[in-house]
């Protein structure tokens, strides 16, 4: 197992990050092609919307997994974390534009109302807004200007974003569906690996 992980780590060192950007662009490229060519079934708008939303959530989960993978399995994919994060924002943006354009057909008044009145849309939109500062600062210049500590603090926003995304997915469903609940469970488990348990007091006070 550790040999296998070593091999992946070696490979990861060799693979340039642009390859990862390219690979993560393929699904949306394929979806766009299918959307235009009629390959998404009877309700292409809904299908496209769901697929891009789910892909975004998958990338958020993957991004959250990178630190625990290194901590527990010594698997180092750290180099690709930014690519994963940036691409999750790309997917959520496509998801949002799909809603605006091919689902709502630019009915602005109804969209404005929906954002405030439908809790799952409110939550989804809130998560999107929270992702904007993370996307904007996902570059070396911002990291230098902000300083590593501040930058890291800001990027902890991904924790609530992931939870909001998972809740959004559950709430889209009319009944309790298994798959969205698995996503939220995985997100919560990944967040739990980050909890720093306070060291137990070794001696009772006053002794």
């Amino acid at each position: 197992m550790s040999k296998f992980i070593d091999r992946i780590n070696q490979l990861a060192r060799k693979v340039p990050t642009w390859v990862v950007y390219l690979l993560l662009t393929l699904p949306v490229a394929l979806l766009l092609f299918q959307l235009v060519s009629g390959g998404l079934g009877v309700d292409p708008a809904k299908r496209f919307e769901h697929e891009t939303g789910e892909l975004s959530l998958k990338l958020i989960v993957l991004g959250l997994a990178i630190t625990p993978l290194r901590k527990f399995l010594k698997l180092n994919l750290f180099k690709f974390r930014r690519a994963v994060g940036v691409m999750s924002f790309v997917y959520v943006s496509v998801h949002l534009f799909a809603w605006v354009l091919i689902d709502m057909n630019l009915r602005w008044a109804q969209m404005y109302e929906d954002i405030w009145k439908r809790p799952y849309i409110t939550i989804g939109m809130f998560a999107f807004v929270l992702m904007i500062p993370l996307a904007v600062t996902s570059n070396n210049l911002s990291l230098r200007k902000m300083g590593a500590a501040t930058w890291r603090k800001l990027h902890k926003l991904v924790y609530p974003i992931a939870v909001l995304g998972g809740v959004h997915y559950i709430m889209v469903q009319k009944v309790w569906e298994t798959e969205p609940m698995v996503y939220l469970a995985v997100i919560l488990a990944l967040l739990a690996t980050r909890i720093k348990w306070a060291p137990k007091a070794r001696t009772a006070p006053g002794v």
Partner: protein
């Protein structure tokens, strides 16, 4: 009394011809005969969805919650020898074979809008007969006020039932006057073909002015009662799904604005259209005179 409601469209009219005379114009013409109150004539076009669209995008939770689950999973349901029990406040209760039950019913084609509560819609050329004819044959006793319907529960062929995604059997209900309305039909086919299993074979209800979930599928029991029956979605979430569930663009569902709908098969950038009151069947409005439809939704 069949043929009480007509439109001038059949699926044979699926031609480039864009505009047809509204069926309500026909009704207005019939008003003199006392069949129905006349309503305003308007121009519109109703183009039926394809068989492929109608049979591959369904909500039928007995076969799974995904839109394509019913078409993927419903194939094993056997509808030969189907029986329906009619009971409760009727003069002639019993369990009847579908063949016997429908033998003397007058089959018609009804081209109806179909509006799902999830804010999408289709246009479907149903084949069926008026529910009123069936209820008259059963002999509704005085004092009956509502009709309850029940879907088959066949765990062997229904994966959704095995997973218990909701409480089964699926049940629905109408007020008696809604059930007797000429628009309310029992459908056995689409496009002159028997219903596909995922469409609710071999027999289902179609109430075109209500959200689609009221149009219960694969019916095995019809019960006349003197109280409002339990209905499945209302039971799951009463705040979201009312007993009446009439299509109403002014009463929002907490989850979906009902002001507009996406027409399945419409263009990517133009599929969304305004939702019409009672789904474009204003002739049913008088059933709800004096009711506040924002409370009794």
């Amino acid at each position: 009394m069949a043929f009480r409601w007509k439109n001038n469209l059949t699926h044979a009219d699926v031609t480039p011809e864009p505009i047809w005379l509204n069926r309500r114009a026909v009704l207005a013409g019939m008003a003199g005969a006392g069949a129905l109150g006349g309503s305003v004539a308007a121009q519109e076009s109703l183009e039926p969805n394809t068989w492929e669209e109608i049979t591959s995008y369904n909500n039928f939770y007995e076969f799974g919650t995904g839109k394509s689950d019913p078409s993927d999973n419903a194939g094993d349901m056997v509808t030969d020898g189907w029986e329906i029990t009619i009971d409760g406040m009727v003069d002639n209760p019993g369990t009847f074979s579908l063949t016997d039950l429908t033998a003397d019913m007058t089959m018609e084609e009804r081209l109806y809008r179909f509006r799902c509560v999830e804010a999408w819609s289709m246009v479907i050329p149903w084949n069926g007969f008026e529910l009123a004819d069936l209820l008259n044959k059963a002999g509704v006793q005085s004092g009956a006020t509502h009709v309850a319907f029940e879907t088959a529960v066949l765990p062997d062929v229904m994966p959704g039932v095995r997973q218990r995604v909701i409480d089964f059997p699926y049940v629905e209900g109408l007020r008696l006057d809604e059930a007797m309305h000429p628009l309310t039909i029992m459908a056995t086919g689409v496009y002159d073909r028997p219903l596909a299993n995922q469409s609710g074979a071999p027999i289902r209800l179609v109430v075109p002015w209500k959200y689609g979930f009221k149009s219960i599928k694969s019916i095995v029991r019809i019960t006349l009662t003197d109280e409002q029956p339990k209905t499945s979605w209302n039971d799951i979430n009463a705040r979201e799904y009312g007993f009446y569930s009439n299509v109403n663009p002014e009463v929002d569902h907490p989850r979906w604005s009902q002001a507009s709908e996406r027409v399945i098969g419409g263009g990517l950038f133009s599929a969304r259209q305004d939702t019409l009151m009672f789904n474009g069947y204003p002739e049913v409005a008088s059933l709800y005179d004096g009711m506040d439809l924002s409370i009794e939704f």
